[in-house]
């Protein structure tokens, strides 16, 4: 029996859905071979057929974003043979900068290839370089100013054909510059790599929305935590007593300043090495204001070397106000608050040297510190100063804990100013933080329990519904915390 005959019978059977064996009993023994042959023939014809291009490609702006995302939709070609399209590739036009960069890359490749060829031919190096440069410029010329340029395309997304439900495919293209216009096209790519591109769309540009929808959860967290802080401030204002735990490091401020006064030595205060755009520096200067007031009241002296000139100015204002409040404005010495250098280790060299020479009796390190934290604290320890540190740099906390007498860890540092002021408003704001902490604890507990339940369900194989619910809760929390 010829192959054509077998294939014909096989196709007939496949299309009609009826068995051809009853009508062609003598051919029964050939049935298996015929079906296999038919399937192979169909597959080969599908593979051999070039994919048809996607139709009706259109774009839409993604709402509630910063304008950096555009959606692309297309219609799967109706007449496309099954299996002829493996993936849909979404391409966008290049920007001018990308085209220019691409041109330079092409020119560099052309130059290097030509240079290698000329060198292999034995052309002298200088001459080879000149010729290769001219060759590359001719091969990849710079377009004349104002001349229309080929758009050039970049693959930005790929959607497997199996992932396209129904007749329409859709893909989101993110990370676009909202200031630039782009064209898009979609390429149907066959299993063998052959492709057919749709017509490009018109130039489009992402429009920024009025609200970043994907940050809704973050906004919710902020509103909740800030709301709690404000609520507690209002409660404190209304006269409700607020009790916060004793912070040993802050209780020791008076003791440290008193010791310096008795010993007739200065108090050294370092508000970190960062500028006023760092909240730790601001927190450090608010603590400085309280410490300076105590210093003024005790008639001691304070020195504040700074690593940023703006921080120096802010520190001067704060210390001057504290001296005025204490009724000792005449004792205020602006030169005691000085700018040293922005250079990290230059600052360390100055402060370390000064500590060794003048031996301050009390050292305060309140702000943002990096590698210099241990050098400063160990130097202070070696001269026998009482040391109180506070920072939010978690990597530096162990060094301060090891070398200082008292350390304000993380949130304690930010609570210091409010704690020292003793004002109900400010104490209330510290209490408000506790609500945020309670929320964080609740989230950690719920997520841990759900993960444990999901793991148990997976191991035991029973209670699938509970496991799915637990995993859904975890997925929701992950989305809510990372959006």
């Amino acid at each position: 029996m010829s192959t054509e005959r077998t294939t014909h019978l096989a196709r007939n059977a496949l299309t009609t859905g009826r068995s051809w064996t009853a009508r062609a009993a003598p051919l029964r023994r050939w049935r298996g071979a015929a079906v296999a042959s038919a399937a192979l023939t169909l597959a080969v014809s599908a593979i051999a057929a070039p994919p048809l291009p996607p139709q009706d490609v259109r774009v839409f702006d993604v709402p509630l974003d910063a304008g950096g995302a555009i959606g692309v939709k297309w219609t799967v070609p109706v007449d496309a043979p099954a299996g002829s399209i493996a993936t849909f590739v979404i391409r966008r036009s290049m920007t001018d900068a990308e085209r220019s960069s691409n041109r330079l890359d092409q020119r560099k490749t052309a130059y290097e290839t030509e240079l290698a060829r000329l060198t292999a031919e034995g052309v002298a190096p200088e001459s080879a370089k000149t010729q290769a440069t001219m060759f590359a410029q001719q091969k990849v010329p710079t377009p004349a100013e104002g001349a229309a340029q080929e758009p050039g395309w970049i693959d930005v997304s790929e959607v497997p054909a199996s992932a396209v439900a129904g007749s329409d495919g859709v893909a989101l293209v993110k990370g676009l510059d909202p200031e630039q216009s782009f064209q898009f096209l979609v390429v149907s790519r066959g299993p063998d790599g052959s492709g057919a591109a749709s017509a490009p769309t018109a130039q489009v540009r992402g429009a920024p929305g009025l609200f970043m929808g994907k940050r809704s959860f973050l906004l919710g967290w902020i509103i909740f935590i800030c709301g709690a802080v404000i609520a507690y401030i209002l409660l404190a204002r209304s006269g409700r007593p607020m009790k916060i735990r004793r912070i040993a490091a802050l209780e020791a401020v008076d003791e440290a300043v008193g010791r310096a006064t008795e010993m007739g030595r200065p108090v050294l205060f370092i508000p970190g090495i960062q500028d006023m755009d760092n909240v730790q520096t601001i927190a450090g200067i608010t603590v400085l204001a309280r410490v300076a007031k105590t210093v003024a009241e005790y008639d001691a002296t304070i020195e504040v070397p700074t690593a940023r000139s703006l921080a120096m100015q802010a520190a001067r204002e704060a210390v001057q106000a504290s001296y005025m409040q204490a009724g000792r404005s005449e004792s205020f010495n602006p030169d005691a608050i000085s700018y040293i250098t922005d250079e990290q280790f230059g600052f360390v060299a100055y402060v370390g040297g000064r500590m060794v020479r003048e031996k301050p009796a009390a050292c305060f390190y309140m702000g943002c510190f990096y590698a210099e934290s241990l050098i400063l604290a160990e130097t202070g320890n070696s001269i026998g100063a009482i040391q109180i540190a506070g920072t939010a740099e978690s990597s530096q906390l162990p060094f301060f804990v090891a070398a200082c007498d008292y350390t304000l860890i993380g949130e304690e540092f930010f609570a210091a100013s409010a704690y020292l002021s003793g004002e109900p408003d400010q104490i209330g704001s510290i209490k408000g933080q506790d609500i945020g902490k309670a929320l964080a604890i609740a989230v950690v507990i719920v997520a841990s329990v759900c993960l444990a339940v999901a793991a148990v369900v997976e191991a035991s194989g029973s209670g699938i519904a509970i496991g799915i619910a637990a995993e859904s809760v975890v997925a929701f929390l992950r989305m809510a915390l990372t959006s």
């Binding site: 974003d65 910063a66 304008g67 920024p208 929305g209 009025l210 609200f211 970043m212 940050r215 973050l218 935590i225 802080v229 404000i230 401030i233 006023m276 909240v279 601001i282 927190a283 200067i285 608010t286 204001a289 309280r290 940023r308 000139s309 703006l310 120096m312 100015q313 001057q320 106000a321 005025m324 030169d335 000085s338 700018y339 250079e343 280790f345 230059g346 060299a349 020479r357 590698a371 241990l374 050098i375 160990e378 978690s394 906390l397 060094f399 090891a402 070398a403 860890i409 993380g410 949130e411 930010f414 100013s417 409010a418 002021s421 004002e423 408003d425 400010q426 704001s429 945020g436 902490k437």
Partner: protein, 231 residues
């Protein structure tokens, strides 16, 4: 008024930066605020330079102890400033000779680059290297087993130190596969990934909440001490 205007500026700038995270049209405003800060910080450098000059000149004129160092400081300060401003020995830039002085002030080969490369950088590296000795002295003091907590700290540090050196492998590498988790190199990883990470995250959550509350106090004008109001 002296404190009210800065308070308003701080509040407007702060709320603008917060809003720019959620309202795309306000994103440009956030950049503007950041640029304004950079300009302000640049202007403040003049005050910083004036502070250096005043402190050291007064020390020099009063012949206070260490006045010799002030001469060195003022000389280095002036020399670096002049060398940087005049772009001394800076190689010609790509737009030379059409545009004179177009080379970057920090261009390799220039005098300022030379100062940084052969004076500041080695001194900085030397000071940074001192950290190793400070770590040793701090560790010696911190790891004394004075009580239960300190003993736990010492034990944990011992495991981590051994686990991160070849000694850990030599000492416990023979442990059978069933208890390989107790090998020092694996145990130290476990301590860092579980106990250390858990503690660190708790601190970071506290810091984040502290930052939020502090920012709110400042933006709402509840804490004005950084402005010099004192209350």
């Amino acid at each position: 008024m002296k404190r009210l205007i800065p308070l308003w500026i701080a509040a407007i700038a702060g709320f603008t930066v917060i809003a720019s995270n959620f309202i795309p049209p306000a994103m440009g405003m956030s950049d503007l605020v950041t640029e304004m800060f950079s300009v302000l910080a640049a202007v403040a450098y003049v005050l910083g330079a004036a502070s250096i000059a005043k402190v050291h000149l007064s020390k020099l004129s009063a012949r206070r102890p260490g006045w010799g160092y002030s001469i060195v400081t003022l000389f280095c300060f002036t020399a670096t400033l002049v060398v940087g401003l005049l772009k001394v020995a800076v190689p010609p830039g790509p737009r030379s000779p059409d545009l004179a002085f177009s080379g970057s002030y920090s261009e390799p080969g220039g005098a300022l680059w030379w100062i940084y490369e052969y004076a500041i950088s080695p001194i900085t590296a030397t000071l940074f290297a001192l950290l190793a000795f400070y770590v040793a002295s701090a560790a010696f003091r911190a790891f004394r087993a004075k009580n239960l907590e300190a003993a736990l700290l010492l034990g944990t540090a011992f495991i981590i130190l051994l686990g991160r050196t070849a000694a850990g492998g030599y000492l416990t590498g023979w442990f059978p596969e069933e208890i390989s988790g107790l090998r020092l190199e694996n145990f130290s990883i476990y301590i860092m990934q579980v106990f250390n990470t858990a503690g660190n995250r708790a601190i970071i959550i506290g810091i984040a909440l502290g930052v939020a509350a502090t920012s709110l106090r400042i933006l709402l004008g509840i804490d004005r001490s950084y402005l010099g109001s004192g209350d």
